[in-house]
């Protein structure tokens, strides 16, 4: 991890590797390709339903894990208790590492003081499956840069914290199947019709990104004539005006009129939009990435168990737990998703 990995801290660069295979797969299997293909959503429900074997085409194209051409491929769902699951059962509590500052994903309800959000719902579903009670969870709010360390040091059993699956992280932790598909997208004021997406309409605009983020790298490749760098980036004198430590800081700059647009991961952008009704996502996502549940590396029994939970979680079409949680937390800011991403397995 060389990137500063702010915000939810996904080092997005690495995961771009090995996407050739995935893209080919996606093309070959259009049914599973995109969550944004609304007309296909019903058909998609069938595919993503309980019969989790998934499309055969996907398996054919899957590479072996050790070469890491397809990081989203995980172990098959299973219910065999290994050391990891047994430890949780003996303890009687699942310890989950989560975020508490990510609106709609993992954040503290100011009234109750409890953690809530899309990630939190998933944690409770895992606890319910393993321990029979969704309340038997110890939440540990961990900072972005502690996610992997918390797993390695056995401080938490799972990390459910908008964590992107990628090859570099697979060296250190194990991931479940993908439970959310995200992508980089442009966020700007609703009133601002001059910006329509990640395209030439950004010309001459001031664009805010998190330091070291995929969004910043994308702008470095193609800025469309926008201003997105601070004069002293990377030095102690960094102004933090256009490139900021955390993606949420971009919303601050946008509200204060210091920038015209924000480029960030749409899942987080949805959280921003939910906090400010005057902004919205513009255009389509221009990258693809997946969130997964992370466990300690090699805890395959737990990963298999989580994958089984995810199978159940996705099942039920529009009434699935996944869709319910989506509608409760994410739909306002991130409308148009008809189904969860399809799981992929290594064998």
């Amino acid at each position: 991890m060389t990137a500063k990995d702010p915000g939810t801290g996904r080092g997005r660069l690495r995961r771009l590797r090995g996407w050739g295979g995935v893209t080919a797969m996606a093309a070959a299997c259009a049914v599973t390709a995109s969550l944004t293909l609304l007309p296909l959503s019903h058909q998609g429900d069938d595919v993503f339903g309980p019969q989790v074997t998934g499309p055969g085409a996907a398996h054919a194209l899957q590479a072996r894990a050790d070469t890491c051409t397809d990081p989203e491929a995980s172990v098959r769902p299973g219910e065999v208790d290994g050391d990891a699951v047994r430890k949780i059962k003996e303890r009687g509590k699942l310890i989950a590492g989560v975020d508490q500052n990510s609106f709609q994903w993992g954040f503290r309800n100011p009234e109750s003081g409890d953690l809530e959000g899309f990630d939190i719902d998933l944690v409770r579903a895992i606890a319910k499956d393993i321990l029979g009670d969704g309340g038997k969870v110890i939440f540990r709010a961990i900072p972005t840069n502690q996610r992997i360390a918390a797993l390695e040091n056995d401080k938490v059993d799972v990390v459910v914290r908008t964590m992107t699956i990628n090859c570099a992280r697979l060296q250190q932790v194990s991931f479940s199947t993908a439970y959310f598909q995200a992508g980089q997208q442009v966020l700007a004021a609703k009133e601002d019709h001059s910006i329509t997406g990640f395209n030439s309409t950004l010309a001459g605009k001031r664009v805010c990104t998190a330091e070291g983020s995929t969004a910043y790298e994308a702008l470095e490749k193609e800025s469309f004539g926008s201003a997105f760098k601070d004069k002293h980036d990377g030095t102690a004198a960094d102004e933090d005006r256009l490139t900021v430590p955390n993606q949420l800081d971009c919303l601050v700059r946008l509200q204060l009129g210091e920038v015209d647009a924000v480029v960030t991961d749409n899942a987080l952008a949805a959280g921003q939009a939910a906090q400010d009704p005057a902004v919205e996502l513009k255009g389509d996502p221009f990258t693809t990435e997946y969130y997964g549940v992370a466990t300690k590396k090699g805890a395959n029994d737990l990963v298999a168990r989580v994958n089984k939970v995810l199978v159940d979680y996705r099942a039920g079409g529009a009434d699935s737990l996944w869709m319910k949680s989506y509608r409760e937390w994410l739909e306002d800011g991130l409308p148009g998703i008809g189904a969860p991403p399809a799981p992929k397995y290594r064998d």
């Binding site: 990995d5 709010a141 401080k155 949420l248």
Partner: protein
């Protein structure tokens, strides 16, 4: 200030006198200067002429002594007065601005952490700090030219403060709604505070303290010209009396004795008065000012560390150091606490060196509280890193056994220590200023008396020739 010019003019009258009675030999109109020299030369050949010259010189020397003393000491007294009435209060005000801003930032973060409904006392503290900073800024602006360094810093502060307060209010509004956006606003406000406002306040404090040091130095500079003039006047007076004694065998010439007495009194007054003032001012500097400087810095570092500690919990790893390895706020906290430790050690040493046991007590208390704070902070961090947010929060902003409690102890102890040093300073500096009181006027009066006495004495002798 009105004395030196009038006294200064007086000597000119004296040299005019001797030529008048002797009447010039008046050679055929050479240049005026050559004529004067010729007149003096002619006068010097006769005893009455010589006496007239001596009388004039004596009067002149005594008047010069008085004038130089009055002038130099007025300057010293004015500087001492500036120290007490102007530059030290301004320096203290600048420290007050600096401190209020840092305190406001720490209070804002504490209130934020407590949740959507911040504790009333914490918010009141924040409001009080902002008001205090605004009030002191107005005062400082009234005492400063806009074009100076201090003036520019005051402008920066006046522009930045409302902007900062606006960001804090946005943070509070968002926090009240439970939006994580509030935390981002709070961090932005803190960035403005620590990146622009506090550095400006620090520069203002430095500039004002520099001005104070300058006033201090000029008040304490030895009045060498006055001392030299005094010694010279006395020496010539003694020589004149010795000459008189040799020629007349009369031991005392009352006029000259009176002149000598006046000059001696003035010289002693000058030497003793300024030495006392000097040592008082030196004490004000070493006991008060230097300790205050260290303590002010310590207090501000403690406030910054407190704000960083709170922000570590607010940001929760969202902001990392430039190398991306560590939490920025935790790193800043550690650096701040290190500086605080060093400053407190320096303050302890200053109190030891000056034998100030009363002043040493609150500093020792502050050191102890800092140790406690650091221990509690480690515990709280461990709790937080383990994921037990609620307990960690209680360990940081709770009423008892929290780092907040330790911080308050540090702040209270430093406030007491500063108040003590301020008292020491004011007392010693006032004493110093008092030691110079009356000296300029006294110098003028004594010099005029001395000069008159010298002329009277010489005239008495002169009258014997008529």
């Amino acid at each position: 200030m009105t004395h030196p010019p009038s006294v200064g003019r007086a000597p000119h009258r004296a040299p005019e006198q001797p030529p008048a009675p002797t009447a010039a030999p008046a050679p055929p109109q050479p240049s005026a200067r050559a004529a004067a020299i010729a007149r003096l030369r002619a006068a010097a050949t006769t005893e009455p002429g010589r006496l007239q010259i001596i009388g004039a010189v004596l009067a002149l020397l005594v008047l010069v002594f008085g004038a130089v003393t009055a002038f130099e000491i007025s300057g010293r007294a004015a500087s001492a007065d500036d120290v007490v009435e102007r530059s030290q209060p301004l320096s203290a005000d600048a420290a007050g601005i600096y401190r209020s801003l840092a305190d406001a930032d720490a209070a804002a973060a504490s209130g934020f952490l407590a949740g959507p409904q911040e504790p009333r006392a914490v918010h009141e503290q924040y409001v009080k700090d902002i008001e205090e900073a605004s009030r002191l800024l107005v005062k400082a602006a009234a005492n400063t030219d806009a074009g100076t360094t201090s003036g520019r810093e005051i402008t920066t502060l006046n522009e930045g403060l409302p902007r900062y307060a606006g960001l804090i209010e946005r943070a509070r509004a968002a926090n009240r709604q439970g939006l994580p956006l509030g935390g981002a606003y709070l961090r932005y406000a803190n960035q403005q505070m620590s990146g622009e406002l506090l550095p400006a306040a620090e520069r203002l404090y430095k500039a004002e303290t520099g001005r104070l040091d300058g006033d201090h130095r000029s008040a304490r500079a030895r009045p060498w010209f006055s001392l030299g003039a005094g010694v010279l006047a006395l020496a010539v007076l003694v020589w004149a009396q010795r000459r008189n004694y040799r020629r007349t065998n009369r031991v005392f010439n009352h006029g000259l004795v009176a002149a000598t007495a006046a000059a001696t009194v003035l010289l002693l007054w000058l030497a003793v008065g300024h030495t006392v003032a000097r040592s008082d001012l030196a004490e004000a500097d070493s006991h008060g000012q230097r300790s205050m400087d260290v303590l002010n810095r310590a207090r501000i570092d403690s406030l910054k560390a407190r704000a960083d500690e709170n922000l570590t919990v607010v940001a929760r790893g969202a902001v990392l150091t430039a190398d991306g390895k560590n939490d920025k706020y935790e790193t800043d906290y550690t650096a701040g606490m290190k500086a605080l430790g060093e400053e407190l050690a320096a303050a302890v040493k200053l109190a030891d060196d000056t034998g100030d046991t009363t002043g040493g007590k609150p500093v020792a208390a502050a050191s102890k509280a800092v140790t406690e704070w650091q221990e509690r902070h480690r515990t709280a961090r461990k709790t937080d890193d383990a994921g037990d947010y609620e307990s960690a929060l209680e360990q940081i902003i709770g009423q008892e056994n929290s780092t907040g409690e330790s911080f308050k102890k540090v702040d209270d102890a430093l406030r007491d220590a500063l108040a003590h040093e301020q008292d020491d300073f004011t007392r010693a500096a006032r004493d110093g200023r008092g030691a110079l009181g009356g000296l300029p006027v006294g110098a003028a009066v004594l010099a005029v008396l001395g000069a008159v006495a010298a002329i009277v004495g010489i005239n008495r002798r002169l009258s014997e020739f008529r």
